[in-house]
C-alpha cells in the first residue's frame, strides 16, 4: 500500500503534489491495475480494458503532475482532472482511493446499490470526481469551460482531460477541438488514450480516425506523440504541454488496451466484460 503519510504529499508554491520517483510510480501503476481487476471482478461487470490502458497516465497525473488535496477535494486552487472516457471509472477510483480521497475498502463497492462508486463517474457522489461522464464526447467541452473559468478568475490551476480515441468519433469532440483553438486555451492539457480498440472492434475498422495526429494539427493544436505506458514520456509531455502558450496541446498517448494482463491485451472482448474469478486470479498473479 502506498505510504500516504503527510511526507509523501509535497507542498509546492502552487499547492500540494505527490512527487514520487519514476520507479515508485511504476509500482503504483501496477497496484492500481490490481485494484481495477479486483474491483471489476467483484462487481461482476465493468470495463477493464480501457482502465488498464489508462493506468500509467492516471498514475502520472495523480502521483506526480496534479496539485491536489485529497483531504479537501473542493480546494479552489486544485488542478482539475476530468475523465471524459467515463467507462474507465475504476482506474480513477483506484487512484482517488490510493491518494486518500476515500478509504481503499470502498473500492469493493463499485457498481453496487448505494455505493459512491457508480458505474460511470458521478460528480454528485464521489469525492474527487469533477464531472459526471459516461456519454462519450462531452469531456473536452466541459474541460474547456473549467479552463475558461480559471482564466476569468486569474487562477493558476491547470485542467487535464483524458479522452479515448474511440470517443473522437463523436462530433462534439471536434466542436470542442475547434473552440479550444479559437479561445486560445493553453491552461488545459488534453490526453488521448489511444488504445485502438472500442466496444465492437478496432477503431480503424469501426470508424477510422486516421490520420489522427494530423487532424488535431489541422485544428490548430500542438501535438505530442508518446508511448502512453512510458512514465518518463508521460511526465515530459506534461511539462511540454504546460510550456506551450497561446494554443491548446494534446498528448496522443499510444497505449495497449488491457495493458499488463496478457490475455486482456488487445482483446476486444475485455472492453466491457468482467473477468471471472479464475481469470482475475491469473491477472493478479501477472500484476504481482
Amino acid at each position: 500500500m502506498l505510504n500516504r503519510s503527510k511526507a509523501s504529499l509535497e507542498s509546492t508554491p502552487q499547492g500540494n503534489r505527490f512527487n514520487l520517483p519514476t520507479a515508485e510510480l511504476k509500482e503504483i501503476a501496477k497496484k492500481l491495475r490490481r485494484h481495477v481487476i479486483t474491483m471489476i471482478a467483484t462487481a461482476g461487470s465493468g470495463h477493464p480494458g480501457g482502465s488498464l490502458s489508462a493506468a500509467d497516465i492516471i498514475t502520472a497525473l495523480y502521483f506526480k503532475i496534479l496539485c491536489h488535496n485529497p483531504e479537501n477535494p473542493q480546494w479552489p486552487d486544485r488542478d482539475r482532472f476530468i475523465l471524459s472516457k467515463g467507462h474507465a471509472a475504476p482506474i480513477l477510483y483506484a487512484a482517488l482511493a490510493e491518494t486518500g480521497y476515500f478509504p481503499l475498502t470502498e473500492l469493493s463497492t463499485l457498481r453496487r446499490l448505494d455505493s459512491r462508486l457508480q458505474g460511470h463517474p458521478d460528480s454528485n457522489f464521489t469525492p474527487g470526481v469533477e464531472m459526471s461522464a459516461g456519454s462519450l464526447g462531452m469531456g473536452l467541452s466541459f474541460a474547456i469551460g473549467v479552463a475558461l473559468a480559471a482564466r476569468l478568475d486569474s487562477k493558476n490551476y491547470r485542467t487535464y482531460v483524458l479522452l479515448s480515441d474511440g470517443e473522437c468519433q463523436e462530433g462534439q469532440t471536434w466542436e470542442a477541438a475547434l473552440s479550444a483553438t479559437h479561445f486560445k486555451i493553453d491552461n488545459l492539457t488534453t490526453i488521448v488514450d489511444c488504445n485502438g480498440i472500442q466496444l465492437s472492434g478496432w477503431t480503424r475498422d469501426i470508424m477510422n480516425l486516421e490520420p489522427f495526429i494530423e487532424k488535431w494539427q489541422a485544428f490548430g493544436w500542438h501535438t505530442i506523440d508518446i508511448d502512453g505506458h512510458d512514465l518518463n514520456q508521460i511526465l515530459s509531455a506534461g511539462q511540454e504541454a504546460e510550456k506551450m502558450k497561446g494554443k491548446p496541446t494534446v498528448i496522443i498517448a499510444r497505449t495497449i488496451k488491457g495493458k499488463g494482463v496478457g490475455f486482456m491485451e488487445n482483446n476486444v472482448a475485455f472492453h466491457g466484460k468482467a473477468p471471472t474469478w479464475e481469470e482475475a486470479e491469473r491477472a493478479l498473479k501477472e500484476l504481482a
Binding site: D122, G134, V146, L148, L152
Partner: protein, 311 residues
C-alpha cells in the same frame, strides 16, 4: 394591450445582472443579435463567449464554467438548445445540478416563416423531464425580466422559454414574480383557464368574451411549469370544477400533461386542452399559424364552453 419583446427585456436584464455580479458568464451560439445577448457581449466582452454553431459544445462548456463557480446563461433558439443538446443538458447540467440558465428564444410556432425546423414545440416536455430543472415560461416582457433575475439568484439549472414576436403586456410594471407560484390574473367561478407564455394574453381575451356571455372564468398564469403550483391547481379544480389548459406546445408533456397529473390525483374535474395536438406546423406569419393550428382566444372560448358542459 401594449406589446414588448421578451427577448429584448432578457438581453437588457442580463446587462443589469452582469453589472451586479461579475461571476455571470454568457454563452451564445451565433445568435446573439436575435437572442439579444448581444447587449451583454458589448458591455462585458471578456465574460461573453460566442460558441459559434456548436450548441452541444456550448452546453458542456457552460457546465464546466458552472462547475467552477460561474453563473452561466446560455442562449440560442429553443429548438437548437433543447432538441439538439438533450444528452448534454441531461448529463452535464441536470444530473450534477449545475448553475446553468438556459434562456431560449424563438420558441413555439410563433417563430413563423422559418417553419418547423425552427419551431420548438416539444421543448417543455423535454425540459420538464429533467429532474433538477426549473422551467419557466414568462407571459410578457415584465415577467421575462423578473424570471431572469430570479434565475440568476437561485442556484441550479433553469429553462426560460421566450418568444420571437413581441408579446402583449399583461402585467403592471411593479409586478413581482414568485417562482413556482401561479398568478391568478382574473377571478372566476364557472371554469379556470390555465395558460402559459403567449397564451396568457389570449386566455384573458377569451375570459372577457365569455364574461359578456355570463360565463365567469378564472384565469391563471402558470408561469412556472416546474415546480408546479399544485395548490393553485387543486384550488381551481375545487372552486371552479372545470379546467382548460392553453399552451403553445404539443399535446404531450407540457403544461396540460403536468396539470392533468395533479388534477387526476388530487381533485378530478373535467379538463380540455388547447395546444398543437400531435403534429408539426408549417411556415407562415405568427398570427396565421396561431389561427391555423388552433391557438386563438376563440379556441380557448370554445374549450371553456365544452368543459363546462362536461361538469
Amino acid at each position: 394591450m401594449d406589446e414588448a419583446s421578451t427577448r429584448e427585456t432578457y438581453g437588457k436584464t442580463l446587462v443589469e445582472l452582469g453589472r451586479q455580479n461579475r461571476d455571470i458568464v454568457v454563452l451564445d451560439a451565433d445568435l446573439s443579435p436575435s437572442t439579444m445577448t448581444s447587449f451583454f457581449a458589448r458591455e462585458f466582452p471578456e465574460r461573453f463567449f460566442n460558441c459559434g454553431l456548436q450548441e452541444q459544445n456550448m452546453i458542456a462548456i457552460a457546465a464546466g464554467l458552472a462547475a467552477s463557480g460561474k453563473t452561466v446563461f446560455a442562449s440560442t433558439f429553443a429548438v437548437f438548445v433543447i432538441c439538439r443538446c438533450f444528452d448534454q443538458l441531461r448529463l452535464c447540467i441536470s444530473q450534477p445540478n449545475l448553475n446553468v440558465k438556459i434562456v431560449a428564444t424563438h420558441s413555439g410556432i410563433t417563430v413563423g416563416e422559418d417553419g418547423i425546423s425552427h419551431q420548438a414545440i416539444e421543448d417543455l416536455a423535454l425540459c420538464c423531464a429533467l429532474p433538477s430543472f426549473t422551467v419557466v415560461v414568462p407571459a410578457d416582457a415584465i415577467e421575462a425580466a423578473e424570471a431572469t433575475r430570479v434565475a440568476s439568484n437561485n442556484r441550479g439549472p433553469f429553462y426560460i422559454r421566450l418568444s420571437r414576436p413581441k408579446t402583449p403586456i399583461v402585467y403592471h410594471k411593479n409586478y413581482h414574480f414568485t417562482l413556482g407560484k401561479a398568478v391568478t390574473m382574473r377571478q372566476g367561478t364557472d371554469a379556470t383557464i390555465m395558460a402559459t407564455g403567449i397564451m396568457v394574453a389570449k386566455a384573458l381575451e377569451a375570459a372577457d368574451v365569455l364574461a359578456r356571455q355570463d360565463i365567469d372564468c378564472r384565469v391563471i398564469n402558470m408561469h412556472t411549469l416546474k415546480p408546479l403550483d399544485e395548490a393553485a391547481i387543486v384550488k381551481a379544480a375545487s372552486e371552479t370544477g372545470a379546467i382548460v389548459i392553453a399552451e403553445e406546445h404539443l399535446a404531450q408533456g407540457g403544461l396540460g400533461s403536468r396539470v392533468a397529473q395533479t388534477v387526476a390525483r388530487e381533485k378530478p374535474v373535467p379538463m380540455e386542452f388547447v395546444n398543437l395536438g400531435d403534429r408539426y406546423a408549417s411556415s407562415g406569419k405568427a398570427e396565421e399559424l396561431l389561427q391555423r393550428y388552433g391557438l386563438t382566444a376563440r379556441d380557448i372560448e370554445e374549450s371553456v364552453k365544452l368543459v363546462i358542459k362536461r361538469k
